[in-house]
């Protein structure tokens, strides 16, 4: 086993690992918002659906991680005066991203199914 093999294993583990909880929330919110998805509507969608505040900084950090994994792509829009002349960054889910969400959904559903603690509402 060489040093480079060690790094390859770590890299592969990071790539193959499923989406984290927050990354999954961001991916689902992104898919719900659709084509005009940028930081503000994504964080609002998460807030409305989950009832918890999603900091924009965290949303962007998650989106950047997802972009590195090629699960989302982004493009810059035009600068807007109400944003202090700054452009919006629009995000879109890739085919690979969709696959990752489906795989996560499958894994979660199979874990969910048949849990006695969760059936009947008497936890």
């Amino acid at each position: 086993l060489r040093a480079s093999d060690f790094f390859t294993i770590i890299e592969q583990m990071a790539r193959q690992g499923s989406l984290s909880e927050f990354e999954l929330l961001v991916m689902l919110a992104l898919m719900r918002v659709g084509d005009e998805a940028y930081g503000v509507p994504i964080s609002r969608e998460i807030e409305q659906r989950t009832g918890r505040e999603a900091a924009l900084g965290s949303v962007y950090a998650a989106l950047e991680r997802l972009e590195e994994k090629a699960l989302v792509t982004s493009r810059l829009g035009d600068p807007a005066p109400e944003r202090g002349g700054r452009a919006k960054r629009y995000f879109k889910v890739t085919a690979q991203g969709l696959r990752a969400v489906r795989e996560t959904q499958k894994a979660l559903t199979s874990l969910w199914r048949g849990l006695p603690q969760l059936s009947g509402g008497n936890a």
């Binding site: 390859t8 940028y38 924009l56 962007y60 950090a61 109400e82």
Partner: protein, 321 residues
């Protein structure tokens, strides 16, 4: 924007946008604040954004931190051995201390040169590589070695310098030695991080100014075509097809009008340009076919931008007459 967010938070956020290159995040926060979010929300979001960006930077530089930690750990036996042997001895005279300082500087430069020669980059170069492109599996061992080289060589060197200035006993014990080296390394890393962020902000501000300059509404060429007929009957035809930057493309309309009102000849306009310092950027080359006078537009336009509008007008009218 109708409401103003907290000034300090906004300033921090702008610097963050410049340092991290994430201007859309800043825009999103400003948009949300404009939509009625509170000042405390803005502060909370700013702090979260700063913490997230810092965390992300630490994560991106993971390979660098591993290398630095390994380099630091590897140099410890050398420093401890020197400490046990009581080496090197403290210098007695001021001259020797100055000499030690100069030697330290020379050694630091040599370390930098050696690192570039051996690994193709210095430890700061490792950071730039990781931030710009990340590291592939094949690159990572080399980057770790490059990051480890600096603390491995420079920390014992700094220990020796401290011994020459004071004495090995100034460290009291080997524990204090390890702690002081660790503090030194940490302080150095923090200082490097802040200085690189500072330069990144400066660079970004310069780029923003350049962009604002480019976006300024300079007079359009076809507008100038109409007004520019000098007293000697020369007409300055400026058209985009010429693909040539001319002084008139960058000069403001006010200046051109002032020059024309004063019955300025082409030679006088040239003289005005020369007097205003355009010659510094190269003597205007006369194109006999179209009478275009190309100069470094941006620099000349900047020159024209100096002073108030009335001062500029008065100056050029005087020259023109």
């Amino acid at each position: 924007m109708s409401r103003q967010p907290p000034a300090l938070a906004l300033w921090l956020l702008k610097q963050l946008g410049r340092a991290s290159g994430n201007a859309p995040l800043v825009g999103d926060l400003l948009e949300e604040f404009d939509n009625g979010r509170s000042a405390s929300w803005f502060w909370r979001q700013t702090m979260t954004a700063i913490a997230t960006c810092a965390g992300r930077r630490v994560a991106l530089l993971q390979t660098y931190w591993i290398g630095t930690a390994l380099g630091f750990a590897a140099q410890l036996p050398v420093s401890l051995l020197l400490f046990r042997l009581g080496l090197p001895h403290a210098a007695s005279g001021f001259g020797w201390k100055i000499a030690a300082f100069l030697l330290l500087i020379i050694c630091m430069i040599l370390i930098w040169v050696l690192s570039r020669w051996a690994f193709g980059k210095s430890s700061n170069g490792v950071k730039s590589t990781l931030l710009a492109t990340g590291a592939s599996t094949a690159q990572r061992p080399a980057l770790i070695c490059a990051a480890a080289f600096d603390p491995f060589v420079s920390t014992p060197l700094l220990y020796c310098f401290c011994c020459v200035l004071f004495s090995p006993a100034a460290f009291y014990s080997s524990g204090v030695l390890v702690l002081s080296e660790f503090v030194w390394l940490g302080a150095g890393e923090i200082a490097t991080e802040f200085s690189s962020l500072f330069f990144q902000v400066l660079k970004s501000r310069r780029a923003e100014k350049e962009q604002a300059w480019e976006a300024r509404a300079w007079p359009r060429l076809n507008e100038l075509e109409v007004s520019l007929v000098s007293s000697d009957g020369a007409k300055f035809v400026l058209h985009s097809g010429a693909c040539m930057e001319t002084i008139f493309a960058s000069a403001n309309e006010e200046l051109i009008t002032a020059l024309c009102k004063g019955g300025t000849s082409f030679e006088q306009i040239r003289r005005a340009i020369w007097l205003s310092g355009a010659a510094e950027f190269g003597w205007p080359r006369r194109n006999t076919k179209s009478r275009f006078t190309p100069v470094a537009v941006k620099k000349f336009a900047r020159l024209l931008g100096a002073g108030t509008e009335s001062e500029r007008t008065a100056h050029y009218v005087t020259i023109g007459q």
